[in-house]
């Protein structure tokens, strides 16, 4: 990574936090006027590559020099808008940039298959806006600016989800419901930010956090906390607020699902961590209460109920979507422990989940492009029809369960260890129970793929096909990453620990 970062000129690196957001935003306009989808894809690929390179440069900067602070337009914080990257958002930057790049590589054949020709370049344009918004949320240090970026990414997401209507009209209602709930969530968040602004007179999050401890008895601050938690919980699909997610993921175009599943809820989760530990502080009485009684309890209910719901799905993508809700539950549980170990385990799971769900949704997309499958019974015998994709899918599935030799194992291991450190044996029981349910639903799909009788075409031969290279490559990169990081977990664990440390040192005063 250092090598890649050293290729960039120094002046570019200085302004990297601004350019990384502005590039995809500007390129979105360029992509929109491209005459065909292929050129639009080219523009998208270039700008995500630029963003990924800059992300690496920023991460290297953070790892060597600590916090990177960039004053937008030269206006010094707290008056101006500050982009601030520490160990906590460096992880997010890594996830968004790498998963964004991989999904874009994957996009060309997938989008060509699913989206009408005349709309393809506009589709890529909407994706770039979404990408820029997500990066913006991850790196901004200003609470209101965070709301704006959150809405930039959300509004373009509604459009992207709605584009699935060409194959399944339910995408429209899914997008509409997502819009209603997403907007309510964002508005709750902005009400909370307004209250915080009333109480502290500042919007800069670092500045806010230094003023809040004097106001811990203020009802305004407590109301702000409640509003922000509900708002961001909606965006992150925290258990009872997850109703928008299954349909949106199930009916969106394949490429959109694989991108969103690995980034969108993760970013919202990050904002929760940022507010809980950095802007507010974990020792505050109202924050401390919420750890156990909101995050841990709802997290556990979520990971069990959503997993059970997943078992009973017919549609493969809906199944994985419910599983995503369950996985958010794991992260919430780690968060609810309120310890550095718990947050670190959550961040580790965040990265791991991005890798496994990315691989799984990409594999489903590859099945769909060749055979148009949706339901689990359609997957019968795919190990012989599409062996390469099936193996990648299997690795992702095993990682989701948390089988050793895959990275999912480390997520659960560290979550369990952190829970035991807290003396929460019941959390470990819930963790194991939920993993067993996950095994059930993954086994259903794997059994269909590996054991069931394959489909035959009219001549009686087994239908055989290979996914396009552009789809196979990113899928396999993710699948191999799932195994690789089991044997070499130091890199991810050190990043997760740095994230937890940054979250807690922000609260040190």
């Amino acid at each position: 990574m250092e090598f890649l970062a050293s290729l960039l000129p120094a002046s570019l690196v200085t302004h990297a936090p601004a350019i990384i957001v502005v590039t995809p935003l500007m390129m979105a306009a360029v992509a929109a006027i491209m005459p065909n989808g292929r050129l639009g894809w080219g523009v998208t690929l270039i700008s995500t590559m630029v963003s990924a390179l800059l992300a690496i440069a920023i991460i290297v900067d953070v790892q060597t020099g600590g916090v990177v602070s960039y004053a937008m337009g030269g206006w010094a914080p707290p008056a101006g808008i500050e982009f601030r990257i520490d160990g906590l958002n460096a992880v997010l930057l890594l996830v968004i940039a790498s998963l964004g790049l991989l999904s874009v590589i994957y996009a060309l054949p997938s989008v060509a298959d699913e989206i009408e020709k005349s709309r393809q370049s506009l589709f890529y344009s909407a994706f770039l806006v979404c990408f820029a918004g997500l990066i913006g949320v991850a790196i901004t240090g200003d609470a209101f600016n965070m709301f704006v970026f959150l809405e930039i990414s959300s509004i373009s997401t509604y459009v992207l989800v709605g584009m699935g209507a060409e194959r399944d009209r339910r995408a429209l209602t899914a997008a509409y419901n997502y819009l209603i709930l997403g907007t309510i969530g964002a508005t709750f968040f902005v009400i909370g930010v307004g209250f915080l602004y009333m109480a502290t007179g500042t919007l800069n999050m670092a500045d806010m956090s230094s003023r809040l401890p004097d106001l811990s008895d203020s009802r305004v601050v407590q109301a702000a906390f409640a509003f922000i938690i509900v708002g961001l919980g909606l965006k992150a699909a925290m258990f009872p607020l997850h109703l928008w997610l299954p349909n949106a993921y199930a009916y969106a175009p394949n490429f959109v699902t694989s991108f969103l599943a690995s980034t969108a809820t993760k970013v919202a989760f990050y904002t929760l961590v940022r507010f809980l530990f950095d802007v507010f502080w974990p020792e505050a009485p109202f924050v401390e209460v919420s750890f156990l009684w909101v995050f841990a309890i709802l997290g556990i209910i979520g990971m069990i109920v959503a997993s059970v719901q997943a078992v009973f799905q017919d549609d493969a993508r809906r199944l994985l979507a419910f599983s995503s809700v369950g996985q958010v539950g794991y992260m919430m549980l780690g968060l609810g422990m309120g310890t550095a170990a718990g947050v670190s385990a959550s961040m580790l799971h965040l990265v791991n989940h991005a890798m496994m769900k990315g691989a799984l949704f990409m594999a489903l997309g590859a099945f769909a492009i060749r055979f148009g499958v949706r339901r689990i019974s359609d997957l019968n015998g795919f190990s012989r029809s599409m062996p390469f994709t099936s193996v990648a899918f299997t690795i992702g599935g095993l990682s989701l369960v948390g089988v050793p030799m895959t990275v999912g194992f480390w997520s659960k291991w560290y979550l369990g260890v952190a829970a035991l450190e807290n003396g929460w044996w019941w959390a470990v029981v819930a963790l194991i129970l939920s993993s067993l349910i996950a095994l059930t639903y993954v086994a259903r799909m794997l059994a269909a793929i590996w054991v069931a009788e394959p489909h035959h075409d009219r001549t009686g031969a087994i239908a055989h096909a290979r996914a396009p290279w552009l789809m196979l490559a990113p899928m396999w990169i993710l699948a191999i990453a799932n195994i690789w990081f089991f044997f070499q977990p130091e890199f991810l664990i050190s990043m997760a620990n740095a994230a937890a440390e940054a979250a807690f040192s922000g609260g040190a005063r």
Partner: protein, 165 residues
């Protein structure tokens, strides 16, 4: 009691609007009416922000200009007498500009920041509303209805038909 309510008049309006909007979103099955409720909900938040920007007796937050010709630099930090002397010389309409130096020292003006924030939030609201309406148009084209109930029935009918085949 009345005094307490009167002091918080704006906030009461905000809360009423907010709850009306939120209720409309969950209570109606009509997709367009739901968007109306959503807009109402968002607008109430704009009021909340504008309210906290208000300072009693505050001027519009415009930097008073002062020109070299009139008294030059000595109005800056000069005493009230100098400022008011000057004010009598000047035309009535330019009074607020005239005692620039005096104002710079202790001008009271409304907080401009919430207004700026809300300008941005209005743009966000407009974008959300337009995307929402566009989706409703597409839903109407596809399903022929904008009632939640009817849409669910149409989807359910297809789903169960597929299962039976």
């Amino acid at each position: 009691m009345i005094e307490i309510l009167a002091e918080r008049f704006n906030f009461i309006i905000v809360i009423i609007l907010m709850m009306t909007g939120l209720y409309a979103v969950v209570a109606t099955g009509n997709l367009v009416k739901r968007l109306v409720g959503l807009s109402l909900f968002q607008t109430s938040v704009f009021f909340l922000y504008i309210t906290i920007g208000k300072v009693f007796g505050g001027q519009p937050p415009i930097l008073p200009e002062y020109s070299e010709g009139h008294g030059g630099g000595d109005t800056y930090g000069g005493d009230v007498v100098a400022a008011s002397d000057y004010a009598t010389d000047a035309a009535a309409s330019s009074v607020s500009h005239a005692d620039a130096g005096h104002y710079a020292a202790e001008a009271i003006y409304s907080n401009p920041l919430p207004h700026v924030l809300i300008l941005t939030a209005i743009v966000v609201g407009v974008a959300t509303l337009s995307v929402g309406l566009a989706l409703v148009v597409r839903i109407r084209e596809t399903y022929g209805t904008i009632e939640d109930e009817a849409i669910n029935q149409a989807d359910y009918a297809i789903d169960s038909a597929r299962r039976n085949t």
